[in-house]
C-alpha cells in the first residue's frame, strides 16, 4: 500500500513538474494559433532563445538566476515583436502550407544561427545553491528544482489566467479569439492585439525555455527536437484555449511518467497512441471549438 502510494506520488510530482515546462512554453503557441490561425512551427525557437538568454547572461555577465529568467522573458518578447511585425504579419492571410514552410525555414535558420553563435554543445546552467539538492517532505526526498518549477509554474499560470480573465486586454483577446470580425467591428485594434499577444506568448516560451534549460538542455537542435511535444500539447489541448493546453500538458507529463514508471515496455508509443486517440475522438482538441 505504502509502496503504491509512493509510486503515485512520484508519478504526480515528476509529471507535474515536466507538464509545467511544457505548458509555459506551449500556451503562447496555442493562443497565437487560435487567435491568428497561424501554423507556427518555429515556436521552439523562442523557447531556445530564452534558454540561451538565461544561460549566457549568467555565464558571461554573472546575472543571478532569477533575474536571468526575467531577462529571458523580456528579451524574447522584444525579439518576437520584430519577428511578428516584419515577417509573420505578412503571412496572416496565407495558406496553411505557406505558414508551415515559412516557419520551418525560420527554425532552420535559427538552428544554424545558434550553432554559429554558441557552438554545438549544450549550455551549462548554474543553479543557485538554494535550488539544488532535495527537499525532505513526509520522509521522502523531492528534487528542489522541480518543486521550484511547480511553484513558479502555478504562479505564472495564475497570473496569466487572471490577466486573460480580468483585464481589458484579456477581454479583447478572448473576444478576438471567439470572433475576429466581430471584435474588429467593436473597434478592437486586432493588429496591435496580435502583436501584444504574440509577444506575450513568445515571452512565455522564452521563460519556459529558460526555466526548463536544466531539464531540457539548450543546444542548437532544440527547436526541432521538442517541436513535436509542443505541437501535441497545443493540438490535443485545443487551439485558442488557456485551459486546454494545461490539461494536455498534465496528461502528457503525468501520463508519460506513469507509463515510464509502471510499464516502460510501451515506451514512446504511449504518447503517439494517446495523441492519435484523442485527436480522433476530439479533432478540435479537448477544449477547442470547432
Amino acid at each position: 500500500m505504502d509502496q503504491a502510494l509512493a509510486i503515485a506520488v512520484s508519478i504526480l510530482f515528476l509529471g507535474t513538474a515536466y507538464a509545467m515546462i511544457l505548458y509555459i512554453i506551449s500556451v503562447g503557441l496555442s493562443v497565437t494559433m487560435g487567435l491568428m490561425g497561424f501554423q507556427n512551427l518555429a515556436h521552439g525557437v523562442f523557447a531556445m532563445a530564452g534558454g540561451y538568454v538565461c544561460t549566457r547572461t549568467m555565464a558571461e555577465f554573472g546575472v543571478p538566476f532569477l533575474p536571468s529568467l526575467v531577462l529571458a522573458f523580456v528579451v524574447v518578447a522584444a525579439i518576437s515583436v520584430a519577428f511578428e511585425r516584419l515577417l509573420y504579419a505578412r503571412l496572416y492571410g496565407a495558406g496553411e502550407l505557406e505558414q508551415v514552410l515559412f516557419t520551418i525555414g525560420l527554425a532552420f535558420m535559427a538552428i544554424a544561427a545558434a550553432k554559429f553563435m554558441f557552438g554545438p554543445i549544450s549550455q551549462r546552467v548554474d543553479l543557485p545553491d538554494y535550488l539544488k539538492g532535495q527537499i525532505e517532505f513526509m520522509g521522502r526526498g523531492f528534487p528542489t528544482y522541480r518543486v521550484f518549477l511547480i511553484v513558479v509554474g502555478v504562479a505564472i499560470i495564475a497570473a496569466l489566467w487572471l490577466a486573460i480573465e480580468r483585464t481589458t486586454f484579456g477581454a479583447q483577446v478572448r473576444a478576438a479569439v471567439d470572433n475576429r470580425r466581430m471584435a474588429e467591428s467593436l473597434g478592437i485594434n486586432t493588429g496591435r492585439l496580435f502583436t501584444l499577444t504574440f509577444a506575450l506568448g513568445s515571452g512565455l516560451a522564452g521563460l519556459g525555455g529558460a526555466l526548463g534549460a536544466d531539464i531540457l538542455p539548450v543546444d542548437p537542435g532544440y527547436p526541432l527536437r521538442h517541436l513535436v511535444y509542443f505541437l501535441i500539447v497545443v493540438a490535443v489541448g485545443g487551439l485558442g484555449s488557456l485551459r486546454g493546453p494545461f490539461v494536455a500538458a498534465l496528461l502528457l507529463g503525468i501520463g508519460d511518467s506513469a507509463c515510464t514508471i509502471l510499464v516502460p515496455q510501451i515506451g514512446a508509443f504511449f504518447v503517439y497512441a494517446v495523441t492519435l486517440g484523442l485527436l480522433l475522438w476530439r479533432p478540435q482538441g479537448l477544449f477547442g471549438r470547432m
Binding site: 551549462r124 531539464i215 514508471i261 516502460p264
Partner: protein
C-alpha cells in the same frame, strides 16, 4: 558489350596506376559534417587534419590527399552513394570515416567489389567487420567496454543486484546485453533491463523507478551529447547517489566535451572507456596539447578524435610500407596485426584474424580536479578484444 566493359576496366586500372605514380595517395573520408551529428564529424575532421600536419613529412615524397564527403547522419543511401562516387569518380585508393553502423554496413558490397581497403573510424556494432574482408576497425565495439564493465561491477563489494537503463536502439541493446552478460557471469543478478525511447526528454521518471527498486548498481547507456547530460542531471536531482545506487556506464554518459556543462553531477561515477582526454600518458598529453594549440584552449578532443587519429596512423603506416603504391591485398595484410603503442589511448592493435580493434579499456572515476570534472583513469584492463566475437563465432564460409 562485355568486351567494352573489360576495356573500360582496363583503362580504369591504367588511370589509377598513373595516379599512384604521381606519388599522391587518395583517401576518401566519409563522415557527418552537417545535420545533428555535425559536431562529431568536426571532431574527427580536426584529428585528421592535425595528424596530417604533424606527420606529412614521414611519408615524403608521397603525399596524401583526403577527399571529404558529408553523409549528413545515419543515412546509408547517402554514405553508399558518396562512397560509390569516391571510388568511381575520385578514384580513391583507401576509404575511412563512417560514424554510423548502417552507413558502414551499406558500403560493404562496394568495397568488396572495388577492393578498396576501408578503415572504420567510429561505427561500433560488432558485426560490421564481418561484412567485408576489406574492413578494418580502429574504433571500439559496444561489447568491448560494457562486457568487462559488467564483470568488474560484479566483483565490487556489496554489489549483487544491478539495473540496466539503455536507450532503445541497436547500440543500446548491445550494451545492455553485454553488461548483463558480464555481470551475471561474475555472479551478479540483473533485476531489470529497461529501455528508454529515443525521444525521451525527461529522464526523471526512469530514475525514480530505479530509486524505488534500490539496486546496488545502475548501468546506463545513452548516446553521448545532450541526452547524456539530461540523464546525468536527473541522476543527480533524484539523489540516487545518496541512496547508495552506484552508477556505472560506458564513456558515452560522461563525454569529455560535455563535462564542463555537467554541473552538480556527483563524483564517483564509474565509466569504462578506451579514451579520456584527461588520461595521463605522454602520448595523450602531447596529443591534447597539440590539439589545443591548433583549435583553441577550450577545444577538447574526444574518443571520436582518437578513432580518426588512429585511422590516420594506420593509413600512414600502409602508405609508408608500400611507398605510396597501394595494393589492396598487401594493404589488408599490413593492416592485419598493425599496432600503435603511441596512440593517445595507449596501445592499440588491429587483430590479425578479425581485423577488429584490440585496445586497453580504462576504468575511470568521475572526479573534481581544480573545480572541474574529469574522467580519471583508475584501472586498466589491457588489450581487450571484442567479446562478442567469442560468443558469436562466424558461420563457416
Amino acid at each position: 558489350m562485355r568486351l567494352f566493359r573489360i576495356a573500360t576496366l582496363a583503362l580504369t586500372a591504367i588511370v589509377s596506376a598513373t595516379a599512384a605514380d604521381a606519388q599522391t595517395v587518395r583517401v576518401g573520408f566519409v563522415t557527418s559534417l552537417s545535420g545533428p551529428s555535425a559536431s562529431i564529424g568536426d571532431l574527427m575532421d580536426k584529428a585528421v587534419r592535425l595528424y596530417i600536419e604533424q606527420n606529412a613529412a614521414s611519408i615524403a615524397p608521397v603525399r596524401v590527399e583526403i577527399i571529404r564527403r558529408d553523409d549528413t547522419g545515419p543515412n546509408p543511401e547517402v554514405a553508399r552513394r558518396l562512397t560509390q562516387e569516391l571510388i568511381t569518380r575520385e578514384r580513391v585508393q583507401l576509404l575511412t570515416g563512417y560514424i554510423y553502423t548502417p552507413n558502414a554496413m551499406a558500403v560493404a558490397p562496394l568495397i568488396n567489389e572495388a577492393r578498396i581497403p576501408t578503415i572504420i573510424m567510429n561505427a561500433g556494432t560488432s558485426a560490421i567487420v564481418r561484412q567485408s574482408q576489406m574492413f578494418a576497425r580502429v574504433s571500439f565495439t559496444m561489447w568491448q567496454s560494457a562486457y568487462p564493465l559488467g564483470q568488474w561491477t560484479a566483483r565490487q563489494q556489496g554489489v549483487r543486484r544491478s539495473y540496466t537503463l539503455v536507450a532503445d536502439y541497436a547500440p543500446g541493446h548491445d550494451s545492455e546485453q553485454a553488461f548483463i552478460r558480464g555481470f551475471t557471469e561474475g555472479g551478479g543478478q540483473n533485476v531489470a533491463a529497461v529501455r528508454m525511447p529515443m525521444n525521451t526528454v525527461d529522464f526523471a521518471p526512469f530514475l525514480q523507478r530505479v530509486r524505488d527498486e534500490r539496486p546496488d548498481a545502475l548501468f546506463i547507456f545513452v548516446p553521448a551529447g545532450v541526452v547524456a547530460r539530461g540523464i546525468m542531471k536527473a541522476y543527480a536531482d533524484l539523489g540516487l547517489a545518496q541512496a547508495g545506487i552506484r552508477l556505472v556506464g560506458q564513456g558515452d554518459i560522461t563525454p569529455d566535451e560535455e563535462l564542463p556543462n555537467m554541473t552538480d553531477v556527483p563524483e564517483g561515477i564509474i565509466t569504462m572507456h578506451h579514451y579520456s582526454a584527461d588520461a595521463d600518458r605522454p602520448a595523450n598529453r602531447a596529443f591534447v596539447e597539440a590539439w589545443r594549440r591548433a583549435y583553441g584552449a577550450n577545444s577538447t578532443p574526444s574518443f571520436y578524435s582518437v578513432g580518426a587519429w588512429d585511422a590516420m596512423a594506420a593509413i600512414f603506416h600502409v602508405i609508408r610500407e608500400q611507398r605510396g603504391q597501394i595494393d589492396p591485398a598487401r594493404t589488408m595484410e599490413l593492416l592485419r596485426g598493425w599496432e600503435n603503442p603511441n596512440s593517445p589511448r595507449g596501445m592499440v592493435r588491429i587483430d590479425r584474424e578479425t581485423r577488429d580493434v584490440v585496445q586497453n579499456e580504462y576504468l575511470r572515476r568521475l572526479e573534481r580536479v581544480d573545480g572541474r570534472l574529469v574522467n580519471r583513469e583508475i584501472e586498466t584492463i589491457p588489450m581487450v578484444s571484442d567479446p562478442w566475437v567469442r560468443f558469436n563465432p562466424a558461420p563457416p564460409r
